[in-house]
Homo-oligomer: 203 residues x 4
DNA sequence: CATGAATGAGGCTTCATTCAT
DNA sequence: GATGAATGAAGCCTCATTCAT
């Protein structure tokens, strides 16, 4: 598939450059969307010539793939935070919802997530990466649900899977909501979200 | 704004042609995305020359706007179906969820909805149309929730708004879910969705 | 060249239709220019379907050719007016200049004349028609200059040709002037034009 | 207005490229006219890809504007030549007319000037640039007429303005004349032009 | 390693012209 | 005679990608 392994003499510098590009592209995609953000803008934001970016990424598409990879890692740390936190799972989630809703209501974040999903609908590689990320997130969530601190640790797996699917749907949906309904505020959401979380996290 | 009202002598033919284009464009946007689908492909799919499309639509953008309008009308009839249906609202929604989840899990439908949301994130006109459609949908939902057949008709408005926001988030989220998690099936979802609906539709 | 003689059953009607189109196109070209005026607009202005115009003219180009032909005839009558007028030629021309300058300062008229000259620079047929019209105008002018009422009727022909060339240049130039210098008014022009006319029309 | 200043690292190269495009476009506009000359042809003539032209010009319109600017500068140097030349103004102009008429009779030059005027009749920006150029030319001419070497330096300004308008009309008109009357030669024109110049440049 | 000049395919849109009715 | 729906070539412009330096 890739004929050009593109070895770099200084792997550390290379990694730094890749990060520069990923961050810059991330910003640009957020602001303008994947299609509307041009390589020219990305290169300017990254402080690097357009041509040089191709020494680190095979294509614009490869950049969005790298962003997904990075976001997956961010997601891991969020879940790890939950895993390490003491106390009842329901309480953790309800507390986390406060921050989480705020974060997911961020309009620019929505835009980027939408771009990626949208791209996934027709780009197999992107779809595979996102699906993989989602699978791992669900696995981590299930692990949480089966931990000692969970009131539903004894429910059958299939039941847990169902609850996770619905819970994740809700989170994704909240992210999208902002596009359609920008005046919606965090507190309103929490008013209805908390009872739903309770439904999903208690037997 | 538009100097060319472009009256058509045979309004029926004109409407048929518009529908041809809207359907063709829907397909193309689903398959390739709004940006990637070219007018050439749309025109071929519609069985009509590219130039001729411009006798019915001012621009490619006008086509996606028409699609949104069409979908809005479809949404109205779904709600009207609910409004005319007898019986307890919770029961209606739980029954409706059966069909609804199936419909929303349809991968092609998801792709098109994603395209539109995605476009909305940076196209104000599209955003406005979708927001308007969403506002009306929420109003209809509130009307349902305040009808005699609803167990929560006496809750404060703000509470109803919150529940609606979360409920709609979940529906949108389910639509997106399919992209990330294609092996998810309807019955699994209903397993967890029904209790959540109950939570949202009872005091 | 023309395979389709296009005989019309009712030649009078046909001529009326041609005139309709010529007048409409004349207006449109004046307002928008030859290229910018579309057949759609011309047909609307003419009160006739676009397709039907092609029963009377082979192409858009044929229309501008017909306009030139019409204008040539207008030009004839102006000269005929001069020929029939009594009195000294210089006086006639000085008097005529008053009206003429006004007419030639008309901005829309300039636009149409410019369009035609511009088209002539690359369309042989148009060039030929305009040249023919110009040749006849110069011949008529020479006839005037050689008439009894002219003070310069005994100058050698070559001298007359030269004066005509310069005089016609000035008229064309005044027409164009309006585009570059719109605030220029008739009286200012006459102030300098009359002495020049005198120079050209006296020995 | 323009978000992309498009700085070029090597300003000399950039200027050379701009000149390449300007020259190529001049040729194409002459031959085919502004509208009929396509970017494809211009790019081929310039020996440069069509896309690359847009690194130096924002649009096709910007190219014609640059041509106007270039011609304005040429015009300045002609006037500066006159200003620096010693001797009586009338003599200078009569001598200048010899070269000037030749230059203005050049068919290709005419074609381009016609294109620009023609475009000015419906493109405000082009009209403004040409008008500005013309205004400056008239100012320079007035300066000449008011210099010591002029026999008419004491005439009232309004009288000078009038003479300038008529003189410039004549020059523009001569340029156009060639299109209608190609067999006209320089000597014939001078025969009548010199007395007119004398009329305009003496009290 | 790094640049940005250069390419060229492809995008949306317009419009003179044709033709079935 | 008359219509206007339909065509399709051509137009201007954008942008991911390459390559000489």
């Amino acid at each position: 598939m890739s004929d050009k392994p593109k070895r770099h003499l200084d792997p550390q510098l290379a990694e730094a450059r890749r990060a520069q590009v990923i961050n810059a592209a991330s910003d640009c995609f957020r602001r303008k969307g994947y299609h509307a953000a041009g390589m020219a803008e990305i290169s300017k934001t990254a402080g690097m010539s357009a041509g040089h970016i191709y020494n680190y990424f095979d294509s614009k598409e490869a950049i969005i793939e790298a962003i997904i990879e990075r976001d997956k890692e961010e997601m891991f740390s969020v879940f790890n935070g939950f895993l390490e936190q003491p106390g009842d799972l329901l309480q953790i989630m309800v507390d986390g919802a406060d921050d989480g809703v705020e974060k997911h209501l961020d309009l620019e974040r929505s835009a980027l997530e939408l771009e990626m999903l949208s791209e996934a609908a027709r780009n197999e590689k992107v779809a595979a990466l996102l699906a993989q990320s989602d699978t791992q997130a669900r696995a981590l969530m299930k692990q949480l649900m089966q931990s000692e601190r969970s009131q539903i640790r004894h429910l059958p797996e299939h039941e847990l899977d169902a609850r996770i699917a619905v819970m994740f749907s809700m989170i994704t949906g909240l992210t999208m909501r902002r596009v359609l309904h920008p005046e919606l505020d965090k507190d309103t959401i929490l008013l209805a979200l908390n009872p739903v979380l309770k439904t999903l996290l208690t037997p």
